[in-house]
Amino acid sequence: MHELSIAMNIVEMAEEESQRRGGLHITAVHLRLGLLAGVVKDALLSSYEVACEDTSLKGSQLVVEEVPGVVYCPACDARRPVRSSEWFCCSECGAIASEIVQGKELEVVSLEVEE
């Protein structure tokens, strides 16, 4: 259950960004979360509320965009979606996929702030 530390990182980053810009009223934080990032969305959402307590982000929303997993298949020379995190082979030909090209994202994309 490291979602709380992750949520605290997110809140810290948002607060730093706000201070850097002379103080903002942040109403939402937009996050990209990969299937293979090892972070559970629901746990992150409830942790976020806790992490926002006693900060300027209290009452703000965490908006999570889920990013599917994609691997590179050397046999097909193509990018292929990962059907589930339990099966990393190429979804077309079944060959061993050499590289994860998408799905490890854990990234704050943007902040929504009041004018």
Partner: protein, 236 residues
């Protein structure tokens, strides 16, 4: 987006801070010529026993040390100290994983130039450690024969983040009716092509191959210092 609000682009990795510290550590390890191996597994899969054997048996040849993470108690450090290698416990309190900054703090006062291998035993947990780079050269994921062959399917992310899988407690395989082929299939489906070793720290079975892997990987990533060490060994 609600009216009266605007969007500010940020685009920052949430684990940026950890990754920065980890990158710094990796550079330090490289410069000092120390090869760093981290170990992750569920609680009770034999990390500490395997590490104790590892430290003891590598010591005649190499200068080794270990950091060991646990939520509470210093029992593991006490056990590992029996190997006579320098060992430091990192007590994480309620935190379920090690982070790069904890490793950095724990290394304060250590001269990395005097080490060939540093082992980092993570907190027993198959979920959270997967997200945190510790600057290690090689990450081992351990799985004991009593855990069920489908464990990799239940915790794919950690297996996917590791470089090598080590099946432990092989001396209990028959009693546990362990199906090695099924375990290997599970590992391969979440991390195709992964190096898989089978060991028993108790009987010593498979340990030669396990040590050979360390030697080979260290030689590959630290060619200059590895050659130096073997020259010293030959002279000695």
């Amino acid at each position: 987006m609600s009216p009266g609000t605007r969007i500010i682009e940020v685009r920052q990795n949430v684990l940026k801070q950890n990754d920065l510290v980890a990158r710094g550590l990796r550079q330090r390890f490289q410069d000092a010529g120390v090869f760093v191996v981290s170990m992750v597994s569920s609680p009770g899969s034999g990390k500490t026993t395997l590490l104790e054997k590892t430290l003891t048996l590598l010591q005649p040849e190499y200068r080794v040390a270990a950091l060991v993470g646990d939520l509470a108690t210093e029992n593991d450090a006490v056990r590992l100290a029996r190997s006579q290698a320098p060992v430091k416990q990192i007590t994480t309190g309620t935190l379920c994983h090690l982070e790069a900054a904890m490793v950095q703090n724990a290394l304060e006062g250590w001269n990395l130039d005097e080490l060939d291998f540093l082992f980092i035993e993570n907190v027993g947990n198959l979920v959270c450690p997967s997200s945190y780079d510790l600057g290690e050269d090689m990450r081992l994921v351990l799985m004991s024969v009593t855990e069920g062959e489908d464990k990799p399917l239940k915790y794919p992310t950690i297996f996917n983040s590791a470089d090598v899988a080590v099946l432990t407690k092989m001396d209990l395989a028959a009693a546990a009716e362990f199906d090695r082929e099924a375990a290997i299939r599970s590992i391969e489906s979440v991390r195709p092509g992964m190096t898989i070793l089978s060991v028993s720290a108790k009987s010593g079975a498979g340990m030669d191959e396990y040590f050979e892997l360390f030697r080979a990987r260290r030689a590959a990533s630290r060619p200059a210092v590895a050659a130096q060490t073997s020259a010293v060994r030959l002279r000695g």
